[in-house]
């Protein structure tokens, strides 16, 4: 297998969610090497990590995103694809740390103070990371101070805020106000069940997305 072939196979594994050889999904790829094994093999062959990221992983996740937008696949397939992507990314981590491979940008994400819901936030984090962004996940019940500290430590990062209660929407409003006061140029993207475009405008946030792919599309447009 040459480098082009292995990158194609790796992209296919990510697109269809083949995490590793032992993974039972998808049934059509049972017993075949997955994203984990193929990434290791590609690196051993001398394929550049940046090519693995850009030519296989990101291209595959772009296809996944497109299929999701067209309603050809749904959240489960997106998550399995992202899992395969992350299995590959584990092998690329040393190259991110050394600076040899750069990601699209940084994305700080957290559920706002007073709110403990994290499922939606975790889905967004996973899909955004799968799209080639470095994600700094602050967790739940995140105060304005913690968001501000993370912004200070990660220059140029976009900030994502999640809230799932109407009571914690007020918390989101206050946190966005504090972020904008301290860092007027920081982009704030918001999401969560009770959130909508109108609320985004009301609190001075920059973007709103109702699903993880929307968040990816928004972030990618920022760096396009």
């Amino acid at each position: 297998m040459n480098s082009e072939e292995i990158l194609l196979k790796l992209a296919e594994c990510v697109e269809f969610g083949k995490v590793n050889k032992a993974a039972p999904f998808p049934p059509a790829m049972k017993g075949m090497d997955g994203a984990d094994e193929l990434t290791r093999q590609a690196l051993e062959m001398g394929v550049k990590p940046v090519d693995i990221l850009n030519e296989a992983l990101i291209k595959a996740m772009d296809k996944v995103g497109e299929k999701f937008t067209q309603k050809k696949i749904f959240v489960p397939q997106m998550l399995i694809a992202a899992k395969a992507m992350n299995a590959s990314m584990e092998h690329l981590k040393p190259f991110f740390q050394s600076g040899e491979v750069k990601r699209k940008g940084k994305f700080i994400i957290g559920t706002v103070a007073g709110d403990l819901h994290d499922i939606g936030k975790n889905l967004v984090a996973m899909i955004v990371e799968g799209a080639g962004w470095e994600v700094i996940d602050l967790g739940v019940d995140v105060s304005a101070a913690k968001f501000l500290q993370a912004i200070k430590e990660n220059e140029g990062a976009v900030v994502g805020l999640s809230a799932l209660l109407t009571t914690t929407m007020l918390s989101m409003k206050n946190i966005v106000a504090e972020i904008k006061r301290e860092y007027p140029n920081v982009t704030c993207l918001i999401g969560g069940a009770p959130i909508n475009d109108q609320f985004m405008v009301e609190i001075g946030a920059d973007g709103y997305s109702s699903d993880p792919q929307g968040a990816v599309n928004y972030l990618n447009a920022l760096v396009a």
């Binding site: 959240v75 992350n86 007073g114 819901h117 499922i119 975790n122 889905l123 209660l165 909508n196």
Partner: protein, 245 residues
């Protein structure tokens, strides 16, 4: 027997009721269609792999389930149809038009709380932390479905109890839905019996364990269950929405 005495007798009996109803929950209480709806899918969209995952984790969640319910019954009521409030034992709830209108003929109000316990949520978090995001999400959705099923069982139980005295029960309503603010949980909880089935309420009105449901329902000869008015409700993002706009 005089109807008023009958109602008072029934209410008096049930007013002593606390955390003693624990429903039996089985596989039939988890509807795959609702789980798939939470994923933005229909049954036709799901493959065998996903359906098997749902079934597998349904069984696992049932093993972890620690269902508890509690309720209290109040007959000291006042309905303000202009302000759309319900005053229960000197506590005024800003229930909004939908809830107030549907409960206005109640002769008693039942306040309740139900929970799955914390083990299901712990499983979801564990799966997420291990990178099994799809599985963690499924357990979370199954947890929500189980919380609703426990509540449905309690609703039926209460209906049966009052039904023996010839009384009906209304739909149930929870703060955070039908334009009734979630912050009103703060007023509801002090009116629940005992330790509220072990459910704690945060200052932001989040219930812990997270897979818990609280609310009210009406009792009386002139109340009944009706279709939820989702088609005229402006909350398009409601996860309980039962009709498309």
């Amino acid at each position: 027997m005089d109807k008023t005495e009958n109602i008072e007798e029934v209410i008096s009996t049930l007013s002593n009721y606390s955390e003693t109803f624990i429903p039996e929950i089985g596989e039939d209480d988890v509807n795959r269609v609702n789980i798939l709806k939470g994923l933005g899918m229909t049954l036709a969209d799901a493959d065998d792999y996903l359906l098997e995952l749902i079934d597998r984790f349904t069984l696992e969640c049932l093993q972890l389930l620690q269902p508890k319910t509690c309720f209290s019954v109040y007959s000291d009521l006042h309905f303000d149809l202009k302000e759309n409030t319900i005053t229960i034992s000197n506590q005024t709830f800003e229930t909004g038009k939908t809830v107030t209108q549907l409960l206005k003929k109640s002769e008693a109000i039942v306040l309740f709380a139900c929970t799955t316990g914390s083990a299901v949520t712990k499983l979801s978090k564990k799966l997420l932390s291990e990178g099994h995001v799809l599985e963690g999400l499924l357990v979370d959705l199954i947890g929500s479905e189980l919380a609703e099923s426990i509540t449905e069982h309690l609703h039926t139980f209460i209906g049966t109890k009052f039904g023996k005295a010839g009384l009906n029960v209304s739909n149930r309503f929870s703060p955070g839905y039908c334009n009734w603010s979630v912050s009103e949980q703060q007023k509801l909880f002090p009116l629940l019996p005992g330790n509220h089935s072990g459910i704690q309420l945060t200052p932001s009105s989040l219930m812990i364990p997270i897979k818990s449901v609280s609310g009210i329902l009406g009792v009386g000869t002139s109340v009944k269950k009706v279709a939820y008015k989702c088609d005229v409700c402006n909350d398009t993002k409601c996860i309980m929405r039962k009709s498309e706009l």
